[in-house]
Symmetry: C2
């Protein structure tokens, strides 16, 4: 729970490479050199906290490896997981941009390497490279879109439907290699913290989904057996790209 100080290693060169980040694709040679000079990289062990709600951030973080969860603490300290992030994502930018204390906490789920980019560097990039800002704007808009989707699912769906929805959206974000298997092991309570339900409810739903052969589990990693079945449980009303083309009646 506290800062775990043991086993801290320093990241090796390759782990701090930012050239794969979409965000930085538009940077000039010069800008990249500056970026690399300004960044500070660090390895964060499992369970360590990158930043806490209330902290004033002086820059943002680029995740070059590992998995991180962002959550907000609510009533009685109950956590609400907002999203999971991984390689290629950036976190903490909201707080930096609006110059307000962080409104969520970032905790490491799987050992991670993060590069911190100071506010000043961000500011210089923003002033000189409009494509960089545009990308940032797009990112914020995308996050907004997903927050709204999450909201409506939470507001209108029953637990079972909403949980199926959550599983589907996890797959979209965490089944990178399209193996129909989540790379992150998630505990029952973590799943409960995403969906906003009691963990007992999650347990019962997982049991039910397994019986219905919708999913399987090995070592807390969820394997998807029947995506269409899950969508049916989720009671999708969507207008998603794929289904509009094909499933239209």
């Amino acid at each position: 729970m506290k800062n775990i100080k043991k086993n801290i290693r320093t990241p090796i060169e390759e782990e701090t490479d930012l050239s794969d980040f979409e965000l930085f694709k538009s940077l000039t040679e010069q800008e990249l050199i500056h970026l690399n000079l300004d960044k500070t990289c660090q390895v964060y062990p499992r369970r360590s906290i990158i930043y806490h709600e209330g902290h004033r951030l002086k820059g943002f973080y680029c995740i070059t490896s590992g998995i991180i969860k962002l959550f907000k603490t609510g009533k009685d300290g109950k956590k609400q997981i907002l999203r999971f992030t991984q390689k290629g994502d950036i976190i903490g930018y909201r707080s930096m941009i609006v110059r307000e204390p962080a409104c969520n906490t970032a905790e490491v789920m799987e050992e991670a390497v993060l590069c911190h980019i100071p506010y000043q560097t961000f500011l210089t990039l923003m002033q000189n490279n409009w494509q960089f800002v545009q990308y940032m704007l797009r990112m914020a808009c995308k996050e907004l879109f997903e927050a709204n989707n999450h909201l409506i699912s939470m507001a209108q769906k029953k637990n079972r439907e909403h949980f199926a929805e959550v599983l589907l959206s996890l797959k979209q974000n965490f089944d990178i290699h399209h193996t129909d298997m989540l790379q992150v092991p998630l505990s029952r309570s973590e799943l409960a913290e995403v969906t906003g339900t009691a963990s007992e409810s999650i347990i019962r739903m997982i049991k039910e989904f397994k019986q219905k052969k919708l999913i399987e589990e090995s070592k807390h990693k969820i394997k998807y057996l029947n995506i269409e079945g899950l969508k049916k449980v989720a009671n999708r009303m969507d207008i998603d790209r794929a289904s509009t083309e094909s499933d239209k009646i």
Copy 2:
């Protein structure tokens, strides 16, 4: 429900003035001239739809007067109101920025005047005026922040707590003149569409809040009698600015 074609008038000069918009504060004389040449302004009567989910927007809208609600349609056509907007706000920018169809619908609640700014104008501004983009970025981040707050309240709070929270946040956005009274008349079902509950539940809660002298109502406009009481019902756990400074243990 359909496009209401009667009583459409053209906006008068003063109604199309954008100089009060924070967003445009950083524009040069030249940029403002261009902006005013490029904009298209229109009066929208009550109940008319500015844009529908699924529409591809070719720009964004600046609200110079009136009140508009943004909602998303969910399961069985059930509406989820995402937010209310008014003078000085802009809408439709997300869809324009990410170049995706609109993911929500904008409907007029009180006759409104909107100025449409085409994408090209936005793009030019973004490329030449970093302060303009910065403001836009800030706006998106603010909206994200509020969506997350809404989410956690919805996820963790009981109906009564959450409804009190919604009332408080409505006051923050719609009690502009600090009269402790909302300027917008809201129907029971609209309130239900914000909180994500059955309208019967809203009715019962309003009754209860009135009995407890927390609020009053005249002509569907809510008057706040006891803000502290409402906060207590909302069971606030916040870290708001005020309380962090003073109540810190």
